[in-house]
């Protein structure tokens, strides 16, 4: 036994050290914007970076990024830290080969879930609209593991047909709201490439249950062009086509009123958080005869309305952080496609 004990002791000496580890990649990416400032440019991609949406904890946000490094230019959900830097991950439909353009957009986060719209188009035989569109829900950690909520287009029980949806937002753990849209494909001339014009025609509230979705029409939401929910989900702020006003619908009381009036320009693309409201005002919204040209970014804090950013820039789809201190927005500043910019709010 003494021999065994001594041997065990020696063995302990031999095994005390750990092994050297094999090499691994140390490419950790960047944190923060390339050039910090006010505003700070977060994305530089020649592709379009659109529709940012904050994660519930404010640690980061997701947006729809055009992947110029893919032959089919898929538009994926890209996740980025809240202060900018390197995209931490993409959520893409990459199972198919490069013969399909897949788009994930209109993401809305609630807890560990994300609801978003996914659509796909045959790349080599494209139709005028997407071949397939659907509203899905998935774990935020794995958006590809999605469950179908609603195929698009669809006709509701109140006989409205929606060709597309946008501005998906959570009103509660099992309740969504979105803008139902009518889509046209106008051509500037008989030989011109058709454009896509999406016109909001109403607000739909969708309740999730075991059987799927129960859709209801939100009263007073006709011709809505954007919406934003309050933190508790009881209030829906919305804008209407060709209207300068911002409306407020309180669901519990079924009362709709006007929150504010910008006076000039068309108001749209609302975002509301912690007492701050952001909207795009002015510009040329999409219509059957016009392409969308974006507008000015206006911030409303109490009675004060402030325009952010260079007046020559055009903005769309601002997203206020959950604490209301930062805003991320798609902006055109001369480049053919939009990049994301970060503004810090006072």
């Amino acid at each position: 036994m003494k021999a065994v004990a001594t041997f065990t002791l020696l063995l302990g000496v031999f095994t005390a050290c750990g092994h050297t580890s094999p090499f691994s990649s140390n490419e950790g990416g960047s944190s923060g914007p390339l050039i910090p400032g006010q505003p700070a440019q977060l994305t530089f991609s020649p592709g379009a970076d659109l529709i940012p949406e904050w994660l519930p904890d404010g640690s980061g946000f997701a947006f729809t990024a055009e992947r110029r490094d893919r032959a089919d230019h898929d538009r994926c959900l890209a996740f980025m830290p809240g202060d900018g830097g390197t995209i931490s991950r993409y959520a893409c439909s990459t199972v198919a080969a490069d013969d399909t353009l897949n788009v994930y957009d209109e993401a809305a986060f609630q807890g560990d879930s994300v609801a978003y719209v996914r659509s796909s188009t045959e790349r080599f035989l494209p139709g005028l609209g997407p071949d397939r569109q659907s509203l899905v829900i998935a774990p935020a950690a794995n958006p590809n593991a999605a469950r179908l909520l609603q195929t698009i287009p669809f006709t509701t029980t109140w006989s409205a047909t929606y060709d597309a949806i946008s501005h998906v937002a959570w009103l509660g753990p099992a309740r969504l709201a979105f803008i139902g849209e009518h889509v046209t494909f106008p051509r500037g001339c008989s030989s011109c490439v058709p454009d896509t014009a999406r016109i909001g025609i109403g607000i739909v509230i969708a309740d999730l249950d075991a059987g799927g979705l129960t859709l209801t029409r939100m009263p007073d939401g006709d011709s809505a062009s954007s919406l934003a929910p309050s933190a508790n989900g009881d209030t829906v702020y919305f804008t209407r086509n060709n209207d300068t006003r911002v409306f407020r619908r309180t669901l519990s009381t079924a009362i709709t009123d006007t929150l504010l009036d910008f006076g000039v320009g068309v108001a749209r693309d609302l975002s509301v958080s912690s007492g701050t409201l952001a909207a795009i005002v002015g510009g040329i919204p999409a219509s059957p005869s016009n392409s969308d040209r974006g507008g000015a970014l206006q911030i409303v804090q109490g009675p004060t309305i402030t325009q952010l950013g260079d007046s020559s820039w055009r903005f769309r789809r601002p997203a206020l952080s959950p604490d209301g201190t930062r805003i991320i927005v798609s902006a055109w500043n001369g480049a053919p496609n939009a990049d994301l910019w970060l503004f810090a709010l006072p």
């Binding site: 021999a3 020696l10 092994h19 990416g29 020649p46 490094d69 199972v95």
Partner: protein, 916 residues
């Protein structure tokens, strides 16, 4: 055979005499009186407590079929002392001489016993055998049986005498074990822990007709029987203590025990486990790119670990005085993560492999000195799977994970459901270009999904074997036969993340039950100064009806073997001729799917009508003993290979081929082996092989390429084109040296003699390079003949130093095992288009250009591909050729690093051993 030949056979059989058996040896000797040397007749001779023979009127006795190992030989005769010799070493196929010289009626007279084995001058030993005992395995810097056998002259790894992998057979205690499914490309599946061995040997010619299924060599191992007292060994070796580049993550532990169980029964049990963080380390130069992680840490490759578990147990049970039952079980598990340059920066998608082998044998022996019957039954199963893991294993200790790997699509593969496999296989995802490389650019390196390969096969075999020997004092006759029922199941799927279609070959599966049978006899004729050995073996293989495609019944092969040996002055000359055959790998009988259109074709058609592969070998051997302590062996041989399996095009489409018995070749060579066994504290063995192994241009790819049209428009078929076989190593030199210092060796320092009981063993190998084929840069045209270029010379020096010491009444030792002591950078492979390990700068630029052309798009700041060092103008975009192309160049240089072109680096292992 002609009637005359049958007559010769019958004559030889009638004159049966001693001959070799691969598991057992024999003991012969005389019993004589001390005074006058008068023979003592009627003396009883026994081995290990069993009386087996009596001396004849000349005092001569002979004990047949004595198992290899150490034995107690006892002699008793009325009126004489009972004499006992307790350390007689019997080696397989050898004769050990034990003479007893006793003084009549005098108890006080000392006993004189001689015991030695002389395999050098013994003319009855026809086979060319190179052996290592279990004790030598422990003393040499070798870890596995395969490494030990590779020390033999004429061996290139597991290729012997120019043969390809799989042309050898593994014989365990007289029972053949072979991976008949894919021996040419896969491992056996079971590994015998060296602690189980009594001895291991490589027989390269003249092996007994008892053994078949081999045309290049027999690896013969004899396992221990349980001893008459309990003993054991515990070993642990590692490189943990060394740190830095010397720490390659190696751990090995061995626990072995053997002893008696009572009533003559004995038990041996061994557990041998090994883990390596890098199971295939390479001595490739560091990357010249500072940003490449191999620049700073070139030693260990990620996702290249391996673990193996080998456990064996053997039980010997005597059944009465003449019968013995031996039960043996062996289980081997090997799991490997496989480094793939494609997944250098995203290792979870890299492939992995698991091989599990089980061997169960039962051996009932009836042994009397005049008749021996060995009845053996064996079950051998081997399962192989290779593919992508469902999740990455966590290391528990070193490279040991302690859990079974799980592969994507594993259940589908086992079910062999090719219909279900036509759809994308669950668990597989399409790969994308990695963004974790130092270069960022979308090129070469992949992530997100594996290559999509899934391969699974299982081979099972039930084998029955009966061997009989009949003999008297000076004659033996061996005969027997065997039958094996086999079960083969295979499954392959390529690009499993895509549905089967135009560019994706269908999954292949097969399930069939071949049967094999054999019968043999063998005999020797003794003349006054010569011995003639004759054997005849009949083999039959039937692929069975379960195999896809039409088959034409059983294939048969008759293989005669003939040897002549004679004793010259101080030497023994042996001439042998033999015909050997082996069934083709079963993998060639069925279709195979590949995702490699450049080399092997996407689809190869199996041929269920393949026949035996054959070899006919002539050999002349001269064995001499220049002095009492030295031996010299010279072997000259010529081997004709015929009917080797080859890939034959079905037309001019290289993607469509079928297997056929189409290749033939020739191996000529000579071995010189000089040896001085360890005496007076040192011993050496030096072996040199000169060899030329060539094949003929029957590969139809080459034939098609070499067809020319002359000026008249006629087709010129190629003439007889000879080119080297893949394992044609022209020169091979091996030196094995041992030094063992005594207890009193060296000076005493403070009462301690640091050099006392120090042992050292060194192996030096110098080999000329293997051949390789060069092509043009596009890879579609050969430059010169196939295999007409040579790799450079390789050299390794391995050293094991051991210091023994007492440890609380037990013997213990610490040792240092160093492989490739000189850290020589041996080149084992080169690129076909350059003849060097590396791609040329032009080749790298060409690769980079193609990759850049495919992805010229700018890389924005927010992209995981963005690398600030490459954004020369700092505008947040890596754009344009100036900024992008250098990244593609670096990526191409990184991807084409010739890692596996180089052999292993210097490997250290510190070991501690306790004997009990």
């Amino acid at each position: 055979m002609t009637p005359r030949a049958w007559l010769v056979c019958a004559a030889l059989m009638a004159a049966a005499a001693p001959l070799v058996a691969q598991t057992n040896g024999s003991i012969i000797g005389h019993v004589r009186q001390r005074d006058g040397g008068q023979p003592v007749s009627g003396a009883e001779i026994g081995v290990d407590g069993r009386w087996l023979d009596r001396s004849d009127s000349t005092g001569f006795y002979r004990l047949r079929e004595v198992r290899s190992g150490w034995h107690v030989v006892t002699m008793r005769a009325i009126g004489f002392d009972t004499m006992r010799r307790d350390s007689v070493l019997v080696r397989a196929s050898q004769v050990t001489v034990v003479n007893f010289t006793v003084g009549a009626y005098t108890i006080e007279q000392p006993i004189v016993v001689e015991a030695y084995a002389d395999s050098i001058l013994d003319p009855t030993l026809v086979a060319t055998v190179q052996r290592l005992t279990g004790d030598e395995l422990r003393r040499f810097p070798v870890t596995t049986l395969e490494e030990a056998v590779a020390l033999s002259a004429g061996a290139v790894g597991e290729s012997y005498r120019g043969g390809r992998l799989g042309q050898q057979a593994f014989v365990l205690d007289g029972l053949g074990v072979k991976n008949q499914l894919d021996a040419s490309s896969g491992p056996l599946g079971v590994r015998l822990p060296p602690d189980l061995l009594t001895e291991a040997s490589l027989t390269t010619n003249g092996f007994s007709a008892r053994y078949g299924q081999a045309i290049s060599g027999l690896v013969n191992v004899v396992t221990k029987d349980g001893g008459d007292r309990w003993s054991g060994r515990v070993v642990y070796e590692t490189d943990r203590l060394l740190g830095g580049t010397a720490d390659l993550g190696q751990d090995r532990a061995v626990f072995s025990v053997d002893g008696p169980l009572g009533r003559g029964a004995g038990l041996v049990a061994v557990l041998d486990v090994e883990g390596k963080m890098d199971a295939d380390p390479v001595n490739a130069p560091p990357s010249p790119e500072p940003r490449d992680p191999r620049n700073a840490s070139p030693a260990l490759l990620p996702h290249n670990s391996g673990e193996r578990y080998d456990a064996g147990v053997k039980l010997r049970v005597p059944l009465g005085s003449a019968h013995t039952l031996r039960l043996f079980a062996l289980r081997s598990v090997e799991q490997r993560l496989l480094y793939d340059p494609l997944y250098k920066y995203d290792t979870p998608q890299a492939p992995a492999r698991r091989v599990v082998g089980d061997l169960l044998t039962a051996h009932l022996q009836r042994a009397t000195n005049s008749f021996t019957a060995d009845l053996r039954a064996a079950y051998f199963a081997r399962e192989f799977i290779r593919g992508a893991l469902t999740d990455q294993p966590a290391y528990q200790f070193g490279a040991f994970t302690g859990r079974t790997f799980h592969f994507a699509g594993e259940e589908l593969a086992r079910s062999q459901d090719t219909a279900l496999a036509a759809a994308p296989v669950a668990g597989f995802a399409a790969p994308d270009f990695s963004d974790r490389t130092p270069w960022g650019v979308p090129a070469f390196f992949q992530t997100g999904g594996s290559r999509g390969d899934l391969g699974w096969n299982r081979f099972r075999e039930m084998r029955g074997q009966a061997d009989f020997s009949v003999g008297g004092p000076r004659a033996d006759f061996y005969f027997g036969g065997e039958v094996a029922w086999q079960n083969v199941r295979t499954f392959q799927r390529a690009l499993a993340y895509l549905p089967v279609g135009d560019t994706v070959p269908p999954a292949t599966a097969s399930s069939f039950q071949p049967t094999a049978a054999a019968a043999y006899f063998e005999s020797q004729l003794h003349g006054d100064d010569f011995v003639v050995t004759f054997g005849l073996r009949y083999d039959q293989i039937n692929p069975g009806s379960g195999i896809p495609g039409q088959t034409f019944g059983a294939r048969r092969s008759v293989n005669p073997r003939l040897g002549f040996s004679t004793v010259l002055k101080g030497a023994t000359f042996v001439a042998s001729w033999g015909r050997f055959s082996q069934a083709p790998d079963f993998q060639f009988l069925v279709d195979a799917a590949f995702d490699d259109t450049l080399r092997t074709g996407r689809f190869r058609r199996g041929n269920p009508n393949l026949g035996f592969e054959d070899a006919t070998q002539y050999e002349f051997s001269l064995r001499a003993r220049p002095s009492e302590t030295t031996t010299l062996r010279v072997n000259v041989y010529n081997k004709l290979l015929d009917g080797l399996v080859a890939s034959v095009p079905l037309g001019i489409d290289p993607d469509s081929t079928i297997f056929g018995n189409a290749d033939f070749g020739n191996v000529k060579g000579a071995d010189v082996i000089a040896e001085r066994p360890v005496r007076d504290g040192w011993g050496v063995r030096v072996a040199y092989t000169l060899q030329k192994a060539e094949a003929s241009a029957t590969n139809a790819f080459q034939l098609v390429r070499r067809i020319r049209i002359d000026q008249n428009g006629d087709t010129i078929n190629p003439a007889n084109v000879q080119y080297p076989l893949d394992y044609d190593r022209r020169h091979n030199f091996t030196f094995l040296g041992q030094v063992q210092l005594s207890d009193s060796a060296g000076p005493a320092v403070a009462g301690v003699r640091p050099f006392a009981r120090l042992e050292a063993a060194m192996i030096t190998r110098v080999s000329s390079g293997l051949p390789f084929t060069m092509t043009n840069a596009a890879g579609d045209t050969l430059i010169g003949l196939p295999n007409s270029h040579r790799l450079p010379l390789t050299m390794t020096v391995d050293l094991l130093m051991r210091r023994q010491f007492g440890l609380v009444g037990r013997q213990a030792s610490v040792y240092l095992d160093v492989r490739n002591l000189l850290n020589r950078r041996n080149i084992e492979a080169v690129r076909r288009e350059t003849g060097m390990p590396n791609l040329t700068p032009q080749g790298i630029d060409s690769l980079a250009e193609r990759a850049y052309a495919a992805h010229p798009e700018a890389i924005p700041y927010e992209s995981p591909r963005y690398r600030s060092f490459a954004d020369l103008n700092g505008n947040g975009l890596i754009e344009g050729r100036t900024e992008l192309f250098p990244l593609f160049q670096s990526a191409a240089r990184d991807y084409t690093q010739p890692l596996f072109s180089y052999g292993a680096p210097r490997l250290f292992r510190l070991g501690i051993e306790l004997l009990f």
